[in-house]
C-alpha cells in the first residue's frame, strides 16, 4: 500500500498522521476508558468467585480451564451485569469516541492544530458524527442480518460436505459480510466529511461519489486497514496468554495488548489520513480547473486551509 496521497503535491498520509497523533492517542484513551467499566465488573466478579482461592484467579486455568468452567457458573449473575455494563459504557462513551475520531480528521487536515481546538470542534460536530455512527451501525446490522439469512439459504443449497464445499462455504461467508463491510468503508469516508462540516446526508452522498471515482484505491486502503486491525486483534488476544502467567509477564502482556489496541487505532487513523489526502487532491484538481493558481503558488496551498468546507477557523 502506498502511503502517498493521490496528488503529488499533497502531504503524505504519514505526515498527516504525524500532525494528528494527539487525537489518535485521545481516541485510544477514550476507548480504554469505555472498556474500563466492564473490565472492572469482571475483575470484581473474578475476585468474588476465586479471591479466596489459594491460587487466586490463576486457578481458573488450572487443569486446562476446569475451574473456569466452574467459575462461569458461579459468576453467572456478574456476567450478566458485565454485559449490561459494557453496553452502557459503550453508549455513554460513543459521543466522545465519535468526536475523538473526528478530531483525528481535523488534526490530520492541517499542521499545528491543537488537540483542544480539534476536539472542541469535533465535539461541536458530535451530534452529526453520532447520528452517522448510529445510522451506519443500524444499517450494517441490517445488512449483516440479511447477509446471514441469505448465506443460510445459499449454503444449504450450494455447500456440500466436502473440501470443495468448504471453500464454497467460506466464499459465501465472505459474500455475506461484504455488504456490511462496504458500508463500514462508506461510514469512514462520510465521517471525514461530517467532521469537516458537512451534514450527514450530504456526507453520505459525497463519500459515495468519492467511492465511485476512486473505488480501487479506497477499497485497497480499507482492506489493508481492516487486515491490519484484524492482525492487531489476533496479536492482542495472543498477548492475553502472557497476562495469565507470572506477575512481570502479566504486566508485559497487558502492555502488549494495549499497544495492539493502539495499533488498531493507528490503522484506522491512517485510513482517514489517506482518504483526506484523496479528498484534498480532488479538491485541488477541481480548484485547478476552476481557478488557476498564481505562478509559483502550490496547489496544496489552496486546498489545505481548515476553513475550507466549514472547517476550523
Amino acid at each position: 500500500m502506498s502511503f502517498a496521497a493521490g496528488h503529488a503535491q499533497e502531504p503524505s498520509a504519514l505526515r498527516r498522521l504525524s500532525w494528528a497523533w494527539p487525537s489518535v492517542l485521545a481516541w485510544w484513551f477514550v476507548r480504554g476508558l469505555a472498556a474500563l467499566v466492564p473490565a472492572l465488573v469482571l475483575g470484581r466478579a473474578a475476585g468474588r468467585a476465586l479471591g479466596h482461592h489459594e491460587q487466586g484467579e490463576l486457578a481458573l486455568l488450572a487443569g486446562g480451564g476446569e475451574l473456569l468452567l466452574e467459575a462461569l457458573g458461579v459468576m453467572r449473575i456478574e456476567l450478566e451485569a458485565l454485559g449490561l455494563a459494557g453496553a452502557g459504557a459503550l453508549l455513554l462513551a460513543s459521543p466522545v469516541l465519535a468526536a475523538a475520531a473526528g478530531a483525528v480528521v481535523l488534526q490530520a487536515r492541517a499542521p499545528g492544530v491543537g488537540l483542544g481546538s480539534a476536539l472542541g470542534a469535533a465535539l461541536a460536530r458530535a451530534g452529526s458524527l453520532l447520528l452517522l455512527w448510529g445510522a451506519a451501525l443500524s444499517a450494517q446490522a441490517l445488512l449483516l442480518l440479511l447477509g446471514v439469512t441469505a448465506f443460510g439459504g445459499a449454503s444449504k443449497a450450494l455447500v456440500s460436505d466436502t473440501p470443495r464445499g468448504g471453500l464454497v462455504f467460506l466464499a459465501l461467508a465472505v459474500l455475506a459480510v461484504l455488504p456490511a463491510w462496504v458500508l463500514g468503508v462508506v461510514h469512514q469516508l462520510a465521517r471525514v466529511e461530517v467532521a469537516l462540516g458537512a451534514g450527514v446526508f450530504e456526507a453520505a452522498q459525497r463519500s459515495m461519489d468519492r467511492l465511485g471515482r476512486s473505488r480501487a484505491r479506497i477499497f485497497a486502503w480499507a482492506l489493508a486497514s481492516s487486515g491490519a486491525t484484524f492482525a492487531f486483534a489476533i496479536a492482542g488476544a495472543a498477548a492475553l496468554e502472557l497476562v495469565w502467567r507470572s506477575s512481570w509477564q502479566s504486566a508485559l502482556g497487558a502492555l502488549l495488548a494495549e499497544l495492539c489496541a493502539l495499533g488498531a487505532v493507528l490503522a484506522r487513523s491512517l485510513f482517514i489520513a489517506l482518504t483526506l489526502g484523496l479528498r484534498d487532491a480532488e479538491g485541488s484538481s477541481e480548484a485547478g480547473a476552476e481557478l488557476a493558481p498564481p505562478d509559483g503558488a502550490e496547489a496544496s496551498d489552496l486546498s489545505t486551509p481548515l476553513h475550507r468546507d466549514g472547517g476550523l477557523e
Binding site: R31, A35, L40, R44, L90, L170, G236, A254, R268
Partner: protein, 646 residues
C-alpha cells in the same frame, strides 16, 4: 450411542489433505483372518494377567445359540421385504407359553406411539413426524402347523403402539427345547431418524426386522415398547442374513460377507455372524471404502466422497482402540469391524453401535478439528463393542451400564491416545473435567441407575447415564486407587457373552476396592449420591519457634470419599494428609515450621464428583479483585468497542 459428541462438530471450515490415494472404491470383502500370528495375539490378549485382567474370559460361545436368525431381505427404496426364520432355544428354567416380539420401526407410525409422545428435549431424533413401520405378514410354527397372532395386536395398554407384541403359543415349549418360527414381513424405513432410516438413495437399516425379546432365566421375556431415550436388549445368537440390493449399491453390515452373487441387475450379499445380539446394514451407491487389517481383524471404513481423512482417521483410531480395549477388557473376538460415516442429510444414522458395525459422523474436516470429538466418537462407539456388545446389559432397564461404562473407558482411551490434551488440542482440559461439567447439568434430578424411560428429558438422560456415571467411576478410581478401572476390567471379562446387572458391577468394585468403595458407588448410582468438599477457613499463628496452623474442612452431601488435604506453607513446603471424609467436618491443627499460606482439599483433582471446585482451596491472604481478569476484560471490551464503534 452418542448424539452429544457428534453435535459438538459444527459445520464449516476448510482445508483437508485428501487421502484419496489410500481409498479403494468398491473392493471385495476380505477373507476372515486366520493368520497364526494374529490368532496368537488375540489369544494372548485374552489371557493377559494384570490385576483384574486375571479374570478368565469365557473360552467360547454356547454351542447352540439362544436365537438363530436366517433372514432374506430385499431392498426396494424405503421398503424392506423380508422373510426367513428364527429358531429360539428355551434356555430358561420354565416352560414357555408365549413369545414377545419387538417391532421397533412401528414407533414411527405416528405421534401417538410411546416414542412419538415424547419430544427429544436435548437428545437425538426429530419430532415424531417420521413414518415407518413393520408389518408382520406371517408368523408361523411349521412344526406345529400353527399361525401365531398377537394378542392383543398392540403394546399392552397402548392401543396406538405396536412395538411390543405378545404371541400366545398353542402349546408350551419345555426348557431346553427349540422352536422354529417362520416369518414374512415388510418394513418401511422412516426418513433417517433415531439411528435408522432412508434418505435419497442412502439406507441405514437398524431394528428393521421382527426381533424376539430377551428371554430371561426365569422364563419371562424382558420386553418393552420402543421409548425415545431407550436402546435395546436381546439374546446372543447367530445371524445369517442375505441382503438383496440394486447392484450399484455398496453394502456394509454386521458380520462377515461369506457370499455375493449378481442376478438381473441386483446383488445378493450374505452376511453371517455368531455371538451377537443384533444385525444392522447400510447401503449407498456413493460410499468410498478404505480398509485395514489389524491383528487379524478386518477393518473397513465406508464414508462419503470428500471424507477420506475421516475414513483414514477412523481406521487408525479403531486400530488403537482394539488394542487398548482388548488389553483391558478382553480381545475383540470378531473377524470384522465396519465403520460407517453417514453422508450429509443422514446424520441421525451416525454415532451408533451395532455388533461389529459402528457409525460415526461430522463434517469432512471433523478428524482435523482441534477438538478431539471425532476420535472420541470413534472410541466411544468402538467401546460399545464391549459394553453393550460383548457384555450385553439391559439398555432399557440400566442404560448407564452401557453408556456410562462406555463413556468412562472412552475417556481413558482418549487420554491414552492424546496424553496431556485429550479434549482439545493445545489445552490440558481433561476428560474428567469435561464429563463432570456435562454430568452436572442434570443437577442430581435422577438416579443414574434408572430405566431409560424414567428420565424427564433427553438432556437429563444423557447427562446422567453418560457423564454422571463416568464421573462417579472416576471418583471411585481417585478415592480408592484405581478400583473402578480394575473393576470394570474384571466385570467386562467375567460377563462376556452374558447379561449383567448393576449388582454385578458393584460386586466387581467390592472385589477391587472393598465394601466401602462399592457402597459409595451404590449411593452415587442408585441414591443420587453427591458430595462437596470445602476449605471453610484457614488460620496460622506463631508459637515459640514454630507456627500453629488450623484448617477447617467441611463435607456436604451424602457421599463420603477419602480425600487428600494439602497445607501450603509460606516457605513453599507442601504437607499432605488424607481425610476419610466420614464426618461432616474436620478441624485440622498442626504445628509447622513456617506460617500457612493456604490449604487445598483434593489438590490433584481426583474426585470429579465434587460439586463445587471453587471452594476447594482457601488462602490466608484473599484478594477481592481479579487483576488478570480485569486486564482480560479490558482487552476484550476494547475490541468489542472497536467492532461496534469503529
Amino acid at each position: 450411542m452418542t448424539g452429544k459428541l457428534r453435535s459438538e462438530l459444527a459445520r464449516g471450515g476448510l482445508g483437508l489433505a485428501l487421502l484419496a490415494a489410500s481409498a479403494r472404491l468398491l473392493g471385495g470383502e476380505p477373507s476372515p483372518a486366520a493368520e497364526p500370528e494374529a490368532a496368537a495375539w488375540r489369544a494372548s490378549a485374552g489371557a493377559t494377567r494384570l490385576g483384574a485382567r486375571d479374570e478368565p474370559l469365557p473360552s467360547k460361545l454356547p454351542e447352540v445359540p439362544v436365537v438363530d436368525y436366517r433372514l432374506e431381505v430385499r431392498l426396494e427404496g424405503a421398503l424392506l421385504r423380508g422373510s426367513g426364520s428364527v429358531v429360539l432355544r428355551n434356555v430358561s428354567s420354565a416352560p414357555l407359553d408365549e413369545l414377545w416380539l419387538h417391532l421397533y420401526l412401528n414407533a414411527f407410525e405416528g405421534p401417538e406411539t410411546v416414542y412419538g409422545r415424547v419430544p427429544p428435549l436435548g437428545f437425538r431424533g426429530a419430532k415424531a413426524d417420521e413414518t415407518g413401520s413393520i408389518e408382520l405378514e406371517s408368523l408361523r410354527v411349521e412344526a406345529w402347523d400353527a399361525e401365531l397372532a398377537a394378542d392383543p395386536p398392540h403394546t399392552p395398554g397402548e392401543p396406538l403402539d405396536r412395538t411390543d407384541l405378545r404371541f400366545p403359543l398353542p402349546r408350551s415349549l419345555p426348557p431346553g427345547e427349540s422352536l422354529r418360527l417362520d416369518m414374512r414381513f415388510t418394513s418401511r424405513l422412516p426418513p433417517v431418524t433415531m439411528r435408522t432410516g432412508q434418505v435419497g438413495d442412502f439406507v441405514f437399516a437398524g431394528q428393521w426386522f421382527p426381533k424376539l425379546a430377551k428371554l430371561e432365566p426365569d422364563g419371562r421375556f424382558a420386553h418393552f415398547p420402543f421409548e425415545r431415550y431407550s436402546e435395546f436388549y436381546a439374546d446372543f445368537g447367530r445371524y445369517d442374513v442375505s441382503i438383496d440390493v440394486p447392484e450399484h449399491l455398496v453394502v456394509g453390515a454386521t458380520g462377515a460377507r461369506v457370499e455375493s452373487r449378481s442376478e438381473g441387475g441386483r446383488r445378493i450379499d450374505r452376511y453371517v455372524q455368531e455371538g451377537v445380539h443384533d444385525f444392522a446394514f447400510t447401503a449407498w451407491p456413493h460410499y468410498v471404502e478404505q480398509r485395514r487389517d489389524h491383528r487379524g481383524v478386518s477393518l473397513r471404513s465406508l464414508h462419503p466422497p470428500g471424507h477420506e481423512a475421516n475414513g483414514a482417521r477412523a481406521l487408525e483410531v479403531a486400530a488403537f482402540g482394539l488394542d487398548h480395549y482388548g488389553e483391558r477388557h478382553g480381545a475383540y473376538p470378531y473377524d470384522t469391524l465396519t465403520i460407517v460415516h453417514p453422508p450429509e442429510g443422514a446424520e441421525e444414522a451416525g454415532g451408533m453401535e451395532y455388533p461389529t458395525l459402528i457409525t460415526t459422523g461430522g463434517p469432512f474436516w471433523a478428524s482435523r478439528s482441534p477438538a478431539r470429538a471425532f476420535d472420541g466418537l470413534v472410541l466411544h462407539e468402538l467401546a460399545h463393542q464391549w459394553f453393550y456388545g460383548l457384555v450385553a446389559s439391559d439398555e432399557h432397564a440400566w442404560p448407564f451400564l452401557d453408556e456410562g461404562l462406555t463413556t468412562f473407558v472412552t475417556g481413558q482411551a482418549l487420554e491414552a491416545l492424546h496424553p496431556g490434551a485429550p479434549v482439545l488440542r493445545g489445552t490440558g482440559l481433561g476428560v474428567g473435567a469435561w464429563d463432570r461439567a456435562s454430568g452436572k447439568r442434570a443437577r442430581h434430578r435422577h438416579a443414574v441407575a434408572s430405566p431409560a424411560g424414567s428420565f424427564a428429558t433427553g438432556a437429563d438422560y444423557a447427562s446422567s447415564v453418560y457423564s454422571r456415571a463416568s464421573t462417579l467411576l472416576r471418583s471411585i478410581d481417585g478415592a480408592y486407587g484405581g478400583a473402578a478401572t480394575r473393576a470394570v476390567e474384571r466385570y467386562a471379562r467375567r460377563h462376556r457373552y452374558r447379561h449383567p446387572t448393576p449388582s454385578d458391577l458393584l460386586e466387581a468394585v467390592r472385589e477391587e476396592g472393598g465394601d466401602e468403595a462399592s457402597e459409595q458407588l451404590r449411593l452415587g448410582l442408585h441414591e443420587r449420591g453427591h458430595l462437596d468438599y470445602e476449605v471453610v477457613a484457614v488460620a496460622s499463628r506463631p508459637i515459640d519457634d514454630a507456627h500453629e496452623v488450623e484448617v477447617l474442612l467441611r463435607r456436604a452431601g451424602t457421599l463420603s470419599l477419602p480425600v487428600e488435604v494439602e497445607l501450603r506453607l509460606a516457605d513453599g513446603q507442601r504437607l499432605r494428609e488424607t481425610w476419610d471424609g466420614r464426618e461432616p467436618f474436620l478441624r485440622l491443627r498442626r504445628r509447622t515450621s513456617a506460617p500457612l499460606a493456604g490449604a487445598v482439599v483434593d489438590p490433584d483433582r481426583r474426585l470429579p464428583v465434587d460439586d463445587d471446585r471453587t471452594n476447594d482451596a482457601r488462602s490466608l491472604a484473599p484478594s477481592g479483585f481479579g487483576a488478570r481478569s480485569f486486564v482480560t476484560g479490558l482487552v476484550a471490551s476494547r475490541w468489542l468497542s472497536e467492532l461496534c464503534a469503529p
